[in-house]
């Protein structure tokens, strides 16, 4: 039994924390949210590329470091803790994973080195309106290798160089790789709950699109990509949830009310204990997801669903109860509580809401129980 990260991976995690403390304090996040024209931090993106993180899991032949997914997990946790305002998830967890999973050699060669270098930014374009993703919800079409339709919202759609787009070709859903630099792409930046992350509406008018994987495999491919992303997102969420608990604890210890620190009241102690319990459940499920992702185990869909559900719950609970623990000051723009509250919403929704994942998880369990 070795259900833990290696010493090297823990060292990388510490390095990542130190790097982000120096290069991504929350004052840096605030520069993005306080500037109506900014949706991300390009300088931080360059610095992160310089660390090699963007290509951590990309093979060396494609310009990456050729490390495993576990290294990506520890980096993700630190990015989540720092509420980093960069398109790391869209680029690394989604685009790079999708191309490595289903891309042709030519597609890998075209995209992966650019990701590792920080030149390529990805975006996942699946949603077209309110409600969960399904075959019926896809109206975008590809005809003769050209994509037309509208995707909204697309996280990082305003800054991405490439998008993964779910569209129907001959009536069958497919997952398409689209270079956004060409003609026929219209982008409109969207106002969202989390202004530290970019989001846009993308309108495509006969834009060249290359299919990833086989015809009609779009939905199952998207699910496989989302399973991978879910594990990595769960580490971001766990990192954020741990930071929210830390903030609540630090504040409770220094705040006095009725002649004593509020951390000495059971109403606060038990609230923080509940946060801790949820965070540990999230972390433990995320570890299992990490193992399944790294070994490409058949358990991945179940493990990823559990990781995403537990981490979404932990970060939501932690971020809202962190505000509550702070009291009035926690409701101000000036205090960082809302950065986590906002990011927890962004992370819970970006790859499909928890209720969708719960339904998927139970479907997997039904099949597994029936097979047993």
């Amino acid at each position: 039994m070795n259900f833990d990260f290696s010493e090297d991976q823990k060292f990388l995690k510490n390095e990542a924390r130190r790097f982000l403390e120096a290069n991504c304090p929350t004052s840096r996040v605030r520069k993005v949210i306080d500037d109506p024209s900014a949706t991300w931090d390009p300088e931080l993106w360059k610095a992160v590329a310089g660390q090699g993180w963007l290509g951590a899991a990309i093979p060396e032949e494609h310009g990456g470091l050729g490390l495993g997914r576990l290294e990506l997990c520890v980096i993700a946790e630190e990015l989540g803790r720092a509420v980093a305002p960069i398109p790391f998830a869209s680029t690394v967890y989604v685009l790079a994973e999708a191309v490595m999973l289903a891309g042709s050699e030519a597609q890998k060669a075209a995209v992966l080195p650019g990701i590792a270098a920080g030149d390529v930014i990805g975006a996942l374009a699946t949603s077209e309106g309110p409600g969960a993703l399904s075959g019926a919800s896809i109206r975008a079409t590809v005809e003769g290798g050209r994509l037309s339709g509208t995707k909204i919202p697309v996280t990082d759609g305003g800054i991405a160089t490439h998008a993964l787009v779910l569209a129907k070709e001959g009536g069958q859903p497919g997952l398409f790789l689209v270079d956004l630099s060409g003609a026929g792409v219209k982008r409109e930046t969207l106002s969202t709950l989390d202004p530290s992350r970019d989001a846009a509406k993308l309108v495509f008018d006969k834009v060249p699109a290359e299919r990833l994987g086989g015809a009609g495999e779009g939905l199952s491919l998207a699910e496989q990509v989302l399973d991978r992303a879910a594990v990595l997102l769960a580490f971001e969420q766990t990192g954020g949830a741990d930071r929210a608990l830390e903030m609540a604890k630090e504040y409770a210890l220094e705040r006095f009310a009725f002649g004593r620190t509020i951390a000495s009241y059971q109403a606060i102690k038990h609230k923080l204990a509940d946060m801790y319990v949820k965070n540990e459940l999230a972390r433990s499920n995320a570890y299992y997801g990490a193992w399944a992702l790294n070994t490409n185990a058949p358990e991945l869909p179940v493990a990823a669903s559990a990781a995403r559900i537990a981490a979404s719950e932990a970060y939501w609970f932690g971020s809202k109860e962190n505000i509550q623990t702070h009291g009035g000051i926690g409701f101000t723009w000036a205090v960082d509580c809302h950065l986590h509250y906002r990011r927890s919403r962004q992370l819970s929704l970006v790859a499909g809401a928890p209720r969708v994942w719960k339904d998927r998880l139970v479907s997997h369990l039904e099949r597994r129980n029936a097979a047993a």
Binding site: K249, Q266, S284, Y287, V362
Partner: protein, 409 residues
């Protein structure tokens, strides 16, 4: 990151498997109620067999008669042993908490007298801490020991203990008593071992709300004990009890019984008002997913703990979340399963309602699990104080003579 044994662990597991294959029982006594109330003789025989083969008290030091083994060795044996229908274990509290306390604090002759028979399962021990006036607040014990007036140095114990698991079949117990009510509460306590067969010790089973009787009240009436039965100094009882309780959360197991898998099957086999299986309803699916995620979270938290043990490290605090999560999970899941059957859910005749029968058991045990071995509230305090480093509660009983501490009745 993997789930594989190290070469040494694999070799030990193989040794354990070979031995179990040749020696483990193949059937369980039908009367075994899982609370130690089954065939005591079978349990004792199994313990003796393990002791003879070197598989009892694996982590105890050799000078106590243990194997001087590692915690992971003990975990491996437990995992492998659980594959067989072994008798329920009435030795857990004694070997997990009481006898280690004796071994830590008694003189060499006493250790020699009690260690080996306990390991072999010949003598069973119980822990006499909780009282009617103090469950979570163990240091509020009122059972008193006073020096015998005859100048012999003996002590006379009078009072009442409660929630004593296994007292009805125990041979000995460790008891925390008040020896000086004029001192602040934590300072006036002393620990003794007692002979449960003493005529002044009366054991009365508690009729639990679940119908069973795994716990007891124990009354002490002029029970005379020698000063040599004292464990630790006079007035050091609280410190001694901390050594005992250190192991409690490990010894009090997590919730067992019907889990998410049984719930899934029940939801598949029950129809809703539209005639479709309830498992198709999103409200049911969401709850099932939440419980699965909690159960898996606990399973993998245990895997993290075992990893630390395997590396010879002290496990992190993640193990402290187990009972808080599992007891409430058991209660909520059982209740949802029963409500799923609608009006029929009230029937607990296993012939008429095999589905609800199992869940009823969990439903009626869960309130006890949320209390035993540290209530939900005490466990949250422990996480807040010991894991997160938040301050202890403000107390009204700390620097006051015990006799002056405010009480109810």
């Amino acid at each position: 990151m993997d789930f594989n044994d190290t070469p040494e662990e694999a070799a030990y597991r193989q040794k354990v498997r070979t031995w179990l294959e040749a020696n483990a029982p193949r059937t369980r006594d039908a009367n075994d109620d899982g609370e130690g109330g089954g065939d005591l003789a079978a349990a004792k025989a199994w313990q003796a067999k393990k002791a003879a083969a070197g598989f009892a008290c694996i982590t105890w030091p050799k000078e106590w008669g243990g194997q001087g083994g590692t915690p992971i060795g003990s975990v491996i044996f437990g995992e492998e042993e659980a594959r067989y229908p072994i008798p329920s274990n009435p030795f857990q509290i004694g070997l997990g908490m009481c006898v280690p306390t004796v071994m830590n604090f008694a003189d060499p002759a006493t250790k020699e007298r009690f260690g080996p028979p306990a390991i072999r399962g010949e003598e069973i021990w119980c822990q006499l801490f909780s009282e009617p006036s103090g469950g979570s607040d163990v240091a509020a014990a009122r059972t008193r020991a006073e020096k015998a007036p005859d100048g012999s140095g003996d002590w006379i114990i009078n009072g009442q203990k409660v929630w004593t698991t296994g007292a009805q079949f125990s041979d000995f117990g460790i008891v925390i008593v008040r020896t000086d009510p004029n001192l602040p509460k934590h300072k006036g306590l002393t620990m003794f071992w007692v002979d449960m067969k003493d005529p002044g010790v009366e054991v009365r089973p508690i009729h639990q709300m679940s119908g069973g009787s795994g716990f007891n009240e124990v009354f002490f009436t002029d029970v005379r004990v020698k000063d040599s039965q004292r464990l630790g100094g006079v007035g050091d009882g609280w410190k001694v009890s901390l050594v005992t309780l250190m192991n409690e959360r490990l010894a009090v197991g997590g919730a067992t019984g019907a889990g998410w898998s049984q719930f899934l099957e029940a939801a598949r086999d029950t129809t809703g008002s539209d005639g479709a299986p309830l498992l198709q309803e999103s409200a049911v699916r969401e709850k099932l997913a939440d419980w699965y995620v909690q159960a898996e979270g606990l399973r993998h938290a245990r895997n993290r703990t075992m990893t630390a043990l395997s590396k010879g490290q002290t496990p992190g605090p993640e193990s402290s979340i187990g009972k808080i999560v599992s007891a409430t999970l058991m209660q909520d899941l059982a209740n949802e399963a029963v409500e799923m059957l609608d009006q029929y859910g009230i029937i607990n005749d296993p012939d008429l309602a095999p589905l609800s029968g199992g869940f009823h058991g969990s439903l009626m045990m869960a309130p006890g699990l949320r209390i035993a071995g540290g209530t939900d509230e005490i466990l949250r305090n422990i996480i807040a104080e010991r894991v997160l480093g938040l301050p202890g509660d403000i107390r009204l009983d700390k620097d006051v003579a015990f006799k002056d501490v405010p009480t109810g009745r």
